[in-house]
Structures are given as structure tokens and as C-alpha cells.
Assembly symmetry: none
Homo-oligomer: 252 residues x 2
Amino acid sequence: MGHTVGEVARLTGVTVRALHHYDEIGLLAPGGRTAAGYRRYAAADLDRLQHILAYRALGFPLDQITALLDDPAADMLSHLRRQHQLLSERQDHTRRMLTAVERMMEAHQMGSALTQEERFEVWGEFNPEDHVEEAEQRWGDSDAYRQSQARAKRYSKEDWLTIKREGEATTRALAAAMAAGTPATSPAVMDLAEEHRQHISRWFYDCTHEIHRGLGQMYVDDPRFTATYEGIAPGLAVYLRDAIEANADRDE
Amino acid sequence: MGHTVGEVARLTGVTVRALHHYDEIGLLAPGGRTAAGYRRYAAADLDRLQHILAYRALGFPLDQITALLDDPAADMLSHLRRQHQLLSERQDHTRRMLTAVERMMEAHQMGSALTQEERFEVWGEFNPEDHVEEAEQRWGDSDAYRQSQARAKRYSKEDWLTIKREGEATTRALAAAMAAGTPATSPAVMDLAEEHRQHISRWFYDCTHEIHRGLGQMYVDDPRFTATYEGIAPGLAVYLRDAIEANADRDE
DNA sequence: CCTTGACCCTCACGTTACGGGAGGCCCTAT
DNA sequence: ATAGGGCCTCCCGTAACGTGAGGGTCAAGG
């Protein structure tokens, strides 16, 4: 009964040396030792290790993890909740970094540069401490987010068809405008791009112009999307992207 | 002209000490010095710093960042593309961690426990080195990717329609299988998933099972895709994802 | 002209989270 | 009984800075 260091290492992907280290600093002391002095890890130790790995993956220093896990007021569930919270924030942060990169790519292609603040604001840190302090406050937001996710799950087949029909109407209008030779930067076409954006905001999530730009670029870069638009009319993907850009620029 | 260390520090959120350190190890040497020996950072230095921060945020060790940025074969755009790629992967990973936490919470509420593998597989690392090693491989791919992009641009309207029709045939077959109550993990449905994968590989890019899994998850998570599949049949997005997973598992 | 406070410089040692041996016991299998 | 893993405890090394110590620099104000 109980696992050796090597077994735990293989099971969890942590090195033996790391487990020794955790033992040394009192973060994870194995339940017992054999007569020969071999470490024996019990089930409870694995539970603890799991939470250690989660917090570690989130960037917490080991001494803080020790403090968190040794807090008698916190149980399994509260740790899981906190981890969930922090992971969600990390998602957000990564997404912001992604859109920042996308904007850089656009700026690069258009030969323009961004302002210094724009260029650096996102790279300013994953401070886990900040998160810990802000965590309580943000529970509200995250609740709202989950609700919106839950709502999406409850859309009926009719809802989905409505959503799709609405989207297709806009797309057809766009294709018509393009066929008529209307430039993508004309007000009427920008309005169609705006309609497209509103459509997403209404049904799914708050689609800022920022996000919208990202989508537009993706329609051009990602063949799975491109196929959808190019199948309707050649050049439509690029046309839509340009319209989205123009519309976002108009809004500033 | 040019900024002092303090200014750069405030602008970017990096500490002065860190900038000194980057100078010491040759990662970021300021463009010049004043007569008094003060560091002066020029615009080009800020460009470089931006990429440094991006790679650092992704967990790269500084010496590797040095190597990456000093590679004369890599320009702005290639760095941005790589960063985008890595950030996307990080998104995937975070999402997997999130669902793992969610599963833990469910298991906790139902009083059941998960198997060891289930509990630990996701926490097994963000190894940036893996990425670095894969990078070369993928760059080969990425060359292929760019080629495929270029090729995609030359598809005619008929090509696009063919592509779309092919894709829709698979989708319809899937919907039929689901309607018939065939489990997503049955061989026949896995074959359809495989067909789906081949379709992407044939027309766009080499779609590994790994990438395919990513797509499958996206069909469920990203409302823009979900709308497409749910509009055809409710539950189809999840069904497709499960089939993809099963097919990838089968392949090992 | 001189001081004062904010900013800059260069050592240089401290810290975190391990990696990587060295030297040596333990245990199972042939 | 001997060979092969696996385990143990030191112990030194490394990466990416933090944190002073000791000392010039510069613009504003008395």
C-alpha cells in the first residue's frame, strides 16, 4: 500500500528530485517511510499533490502553495473553485495577448505602428498575487459569464436555425454589394459589417470591434472559415474582412 | 532621443534590474549610452523588447529568446506568427485544465473519485522546450502551411464549391448516424471523423490527429462553429467532437 | 553657485525551484 | 552471489532576477 517516489513520478510527471524537494521544504511530506527509509506516498498525498500541481501550473511560488494547502479553513472544493477562477482569468489574459499579436500583425501588414501603451499593456504580467486578491471581487463577473455560456447551451434547434438564417442574410447582402462593385469601405458595407458584429453580440458574447477585427482576419487566414465565404463568392472573405476593418476604424 | 532605463521600465512593466540583466547577458543591449554612461534605448530596442516579453510570457528561457531573436532568418512577422501559434496552444492547454477542474468538482459532488491518469494527465507541463523542438518541425510545416495558403488562394469558385460539397457530404452522413442512434465511438462514425480529417488534409494542410482534436473541441466551444453544426442537428457539434476524439484515440 | 532629491551606474551577494551527479544501501531475479 | 534497477542523503550548479551598498549625474530651487 502506498506508492514509491518513482511511481508517483511516473504517474504525475513530476521528477523524483522535485518530490524530494517538496519533502525537504515541507510542502509534501509522504505519509510514511518503509523500514529502509523509502518514501511511501498514500492516497491523501496524491490528493495534495494534485492541488500542488494545479497551483504550480498557475505560477504560485511553493511557499504560498504550502500556506494555501495548510489553511484549515479551505477544503477541496474551495481550492477547486479558486483554481477554476484563476484558470478562467488566464484564459482571458491569453486571449488578450492573442488579439494583441493579431493587431501587431495587422499593423505590420499595413505598415503602421501602434502606440507604446498599446504595444506593451498586455505583456505586463501574470501576477498570481493580484489574482488572489482580486478573486473575491470577480466572482460576480464570472457568474455572468457562466450564465451566458449556459444560455448558449439552451438554444433550441429553432434558435440555431434563426441564428444561422440571420447570419446568412447578412452574408448574402455582403455578396450582393461586392458583386455590385461597392467598395468594402463604403458606409453601406460598413453597416453590413456592423450588422454582422451585432449579430454575434446579440447571440453569443459581447463582440467588441477589437474582437471583430480578429474574426475578420481569421476569415481570411483560416481555411475552414475561408471555405465558407469563398464558396459563396470568390473574394468574399477578404471583402468581409476589409469591411470589418473599415467599420472598426470608423468607430475608432 | 531614446529612453532611459526608468522610462522603459515604466512603459513596459519590466523592472530596471531586469533591463540591466538583459543587457548583461546580451539579450537586450541598449542602442547607446550617454557620456555619463546612462543607457539609452532606441525605438528598435523597444521592438526587440516587445518580442522578448512575448516569448518570456510564453515561458521561454532567456538564452533561447536570444537565439530566436538573433536568428537573421526570422523577421517580425515570423515571430508574431510563432507567438500566435504558441498562445493558441496555451489556450488549448488552459481549457483542458479547466475542464479537468470541472470534472473534479463534479466528481467531488457525486462523492466519486477519478482514476489517477485522469487526475494528473493535464498538469503534466507547459514545456516551452517541447515547443521549441517542435517549432523546427512545424516550421517545415509552416513552409508547407504558407504554400497551402498560397495554393488556397488559387482555388477557383468551382474548387471551393467542390470543397464545400465534400465537407457537407461528410457532415450529412454524420447527422444521419447520430439520428440513427449510432454511438460516436462506433467504428463507422470514427471513419466519418477520419474522412473529415482527410478532407482538411487534402485541401488545406496536414491535419494531424492532434490538430484534429483541437478542431473538434473548437466546434463545441466556439459559438461561430457551433452555430454551423447545431443548425444542422442539435447535438451534432458534440457528436462530431466525440467522434474525432475516438478516431484519434484509435490511432493512438 | 550650491544643495537636494530623483535617477543612474557598477559590483556583489541572496533567493527560488529545482537539475545533475557522487557515493552508497536495498531488493528482486537469474 | 552478483547484477540491475531503484532508493537514499549530501552537495554543488543554474536561471532570472531581488535587494542593497557605495557612489556619480542632473534639473530645480534657495
